[in-house]
């Protein structure tokens, strides 16, 4: 069934200009019941800690004190496919895996091959092959293909918009409300004052719109939730709210969540400790997101990715330094899961990237592109030209989502 709003969107589609692409692209007819959540894990997740390759002959020697036991032993990894496991803190993800709702990618990376967090994150978010390749985010460029800009299909979580969602297409936003809301009269006077300011003008327009939306969907729940989502704040309270906002019939369809705190250079721990705590928060956050989405979970894909992996070998201080290949998670009711997708390079020294890092054998953009085309139904030529230019070598993966 097409809503009236949807119909208008289709009619107006041809007139929407696409920013950033040299050639105007027809706006796709989008399946607006599909949801996509991108979880940006800032700080470089240790893929081999989250997804131990316990069957690799070199795993135990290289991982040393950080190695997890095989699934059949006490406190062992949660088995995936006889080759790979999940960290025991990821129990909810393991359940999803068994319900065929989770695909785990391994030996995956963006095209970035240096080791700066900040450049690595810029590239993960701008969708090009260099940190300054574009000033807007690939997800924002994808939104331009999805539907009319005034529909606010994108949702930024937090007080500001992360790079991956920044760009010409306006997006909605959500942050927990902590002070009394202002009355509409005052806000409209303020909006008038901001109108001609290039920074404050657009921000308040979007803010007022977003406030109305989150009031409708969340009501008093808006007041709950922790402080800063950026960084190590609790993901759970926020994820529930985001799930509900995405589930709302006229809500956003694409959201970005950020989780920091993955930069585990020292004493990262195994079953307990710093990284285990992080993973548990992540696990609980994703479970909360699923709960918040309710029945919309069936139409949802959640991709969790980080800027790069960490060194295969444990470093001198029971942690790991900046690396290259790592793990990513794709989950949701729309996912054809229960599989590990990994062209495993092996952990022998001569198979490692620069003799130290997990060799990437899969480009993250192959996953992102598959989600934009296969899940959201965007035309692949436009995705190729506008969203991920320079990505010819990263072919979209087949069959990630259920038909």
């Amino acid at each position: 069934m097409l809503s009236r709003r949807h119909t208008l969107g289709l009619l107006g589609g041809g007139l929407v200009a696409v920013c950033g692409g040299p050639i105007p692209v027809a706006v796709a007819r989008v399946a607006t019941d599909r949801r996509l959540v991108v979880v940006v894990m800032r700080g470089a997740l240790d893929g081999l800690a989250a997804v131990p390759a316990y069957s690799d002959p070199d795993y135990r020697a290289l991982r040393g004190t950080l190695a997890l036991e095989a699934p059949d032993s006490k406190d062992g990894a949660l088995d995936l496919d006889g080759r790979f496991g999940l960290h025991p803190a990821l129990a909810a993800l393991h359940e999803m895996y068994r319900a065929h709702e989770l695909v785990v990618f391994h030996a995956v990376a963006t095209p970035y091959r240096s080791r700066s967090h900040f450049d690595g994150q810029d590239l993960l978010e701008n969708g090009t092959t260099s940190p300054l390749g574009k000033r807007d985010g690939w997800l924002n460029r994808a939104l331009a293909l999805m539907g009319p800009a005034d529909r606010r299909l994108g949702l930024a979580v937090g007080q500001t918009v992360p790079l991956i969602l920044r760009g010409a297409t306006p997006v909605g936003s959500y942050a927990p409300q902590q002070m009394p809301q202002l009355d509409g009269e005052f806000l409209s006077r303020l909006a008038a004052l901001y109108q001609r300011d290039a920074v404050f003008g657009p921000a308040i327009t979007e803010g007022l719109r977003a406030q109305q939306m989150s009031d409708e969907v969340l009501g008093d729940e808006k007041r709950m939730g922790g402080d800063n989502v950026r960084g190590a704040g609790p993901m759970r309270a926020i994820a529930t709210a985001v799930g509900k906002l995405l589930a709302a019939p006229n809500g956003a369809r694409v959201a970005v969540l950020e989780v920091g705190g993955w930069d585990t250079h020292a004493n990262q721990g195994v079953l307990t400790g710093r990284l285990a705590g992080q993973l548990r928060g992540f696990n609980d956050g994703l479970a909360a997101l699923k709960e918040g989405l309710g029945s919309a979970w069936r139409q949802t894909a959640v991709i969790c990715a980080t800027e790069f992996g960490r060194t295969v070998a444990v470093n001198g201080t029971n942690g790991t330094d900046h690396g290259t290949g790592g793990a990513a998670f794709l989950l949701g009711g729309a996912i054809d899961g229960g599989r590990v997708v990994a062209k495993w390079p092996g952990l022998a020294t001569d198979r490692l990237f620069e003799g130290r890092d997990l060799m990437p054998t899969l480009d993250l953009r192959s996953v992102f592109k598959a989600l934009l085309t296969g899940h959201l139904g965007l035309p692949s030529d436009a995705v190729e030209r506008v969203v991920f230019p320079e990505s010819r070598t990263a072919t979209a993966l087949d069959g990630l989502t259920r038909a």
Partner: protein, 442 residues
């Protein structure tokens, strides 16, 4: 009537006017700024009585050794209290300082060399780090600051170097412990050369080897938490950093490397760019960056000279509202204007609300310094809500004319003036002053 030049001096270079300071700045705004650079580096009275970083480390270490539970309790209790006390005092210093340009420089350099309380060992130490490693050097030499930073327990713990061990050192061979690259990489990438300056992974590795042994005294060594070079964990042998060989020289290797990095042309450009971004515009003009970099090089890394050069840069005086205030700058400037500071807990709440609690940056890159990173759909509303709460709490501005006169008058637009005049209550009028773009920019 405040002139535009005075307005720029007190808002862009300073921390927003205290009503009393407008007169001092008025005659010669540039001179007023430069004079603050000569005022010496004495610690503000409010910060004088806090314990040293070493004492803070000893407190942390004692709890840690007692038990995990004791440490968790201390982190939620006494250590957290000392953090709040000092973070609050430091913010109060910003609110009532008579040398606000100097305080801005402290905040700038403190942010350049970020350590963050998001890592538990830093929670009690962050204030001491700023007091001991940053403050004494804001008008001194960059390499003195860099050296103080690299020796401070705050940085050695935050970026893990205290634990880094040379794999073939005496201790390394015995224990099997080894390198941690974290501090070495971030000094190259964030503190000195900048990310695309041409260094390689091998340079990071070599620099990490050079820095092994830069560590801390433990309780059994006496004087716990003070800097201690540990020869037994220092990696022996020659190292090559950026094509330069460092012969086996113990602590001297690191000292020489830090000096060389400070003097590197890429460091001059990196620092000049950040400085110009902070004082001129998010995308600073290339000519100004080039000039500042030259000053830095020609004065042998003199940060006082750099600060004088930015005061003399015509670009910094050309556009009065080019920068958007960070949350910290926003809160501090509003409280300077009203003279209302409130207690520490409240102050911390305000800063947390905007996601900028003191010393809590999300990564070693520090807080961002561009508008797009701070202003978004939610943050504009949070700022307006905060402005309203402030308007409702204070009542000395009836009518708000004096507040306008000491804040946004020189840059106020007609529509802002009308909105303030037509506000139905004083609280709303005051809120409008603080929520106006003219006040939220600098």
């Amino acid at each position: 009537m405040t002139t535009l030049q005075t307005f720029i001096a007190v808002t862009r270079f300073g921390l927003g006017a205290k009503p009393s300071e407008l007169q001092s700045a008025a005659g010669d705004p540039r001179g007023w700024l430069k004079q603050q650079l000569q005022s010496g580096s004495t610690l503000p009275q409010r910060l004088a009585h806090f314990p040293t970083g070493s004492q803070r480390f000893a407190e942390f270490e004692a709890s840690r050794r007692r038990s995990d539970a004791a440490l968790q309790q201390a982190l939620r209790g006494s250590i957290r209290e000392s953090y709040i006390a000092e973070a609050g005092a430091r913010t109060q210093v910003q609110i009532d300082s008579d040398t606000p340009f100097r305080e801005r420089l402290v905040a700038f350099w403190s942010n350049h060399f970020t350590i963050s309380v998001q890592r538990p060992p830093v929670l009690g130490l962050a204030g001491a780090f700023e007091r001991e490693a940053i403050r004494p050097h804001v008008t001194g030499r960059f390499y003195d600051m860099l050296l103080a930073v690299a020796r401070h327990p705050g940085m050695l713990l935050y970026l893990d170097n205290a634990q880094s061990v040379g794999p073939t050192s005496v201790a390394g061979q015995r224990s099997g412990r080894g390198l941690n690259e974290n501090l070495a990489r971030e000094i190259l990438e964030l503190h000195t050369l900048g990310v695309n300056a041409g260094y390689t992974q091998a340079d990071v590795r070599e620099f990490a080897r050079i820095l092994t042994g830069w560590s801390l005294s433990r309780p059994e060594d006496g004087d716990p938490g003070t800097f201690r070079f540990r020869p037994f964990i220092h990696e022996p042998g020659t190292k090559t950093l950026l094509g330069v060989q460092y012969l086996d020289g113990g602590i001297r290797e690191g000292e020489t490397a830090l000096l060389a990095l400070s003097r590197h042309p890429a460091t001059a450009t990196h620092i000049a760019t950040k400085f110009a971004r902070h004082f001129i515009a998010d995308n600073p003009p290339a000519a100004a960056v080039k000039r500042l970099a030259r000053v830095y090089r020609e004065t042998d890394c003199d940060l006082g000279a750099l600060a004088r050069a930015i005061v003399d840069a015509p670009e910094a005086w050309a556009e009065p509202l080019a920068k958007v205030k960070t949350p910290n700058e926003y809160v501090v400037s509003a409280l300077r204007a009203t003279g209302y500071a409130g207690e520490n807990e409240k102050l911390m709440q305000s800063l947390r609300l905007f996601g900028q609690a003191p010393f809590a940056a999300p990564s070693p890159a520090g807080w961002p310094d561009t508008a797009e990173q701070w202003i978004g759909p939610e943050s504009v509303l949070r700022r307006a809500e905060w402005a309203m709460a402030l308007g409702q709490r204070i009542n000395q501005f009836r009518p708000p004319d004096t507040l306008v006169a000491t804040t946004i008058a020189p840059v106020m637009r007609r529509e802002t003036q009308l909105a303030i005049e037509r506000a139905p209550s004083t609280a709303e009028a005051v809120a409008l002053v603080f929520a106006a773009p003219e006040f939220q920019r600098r």
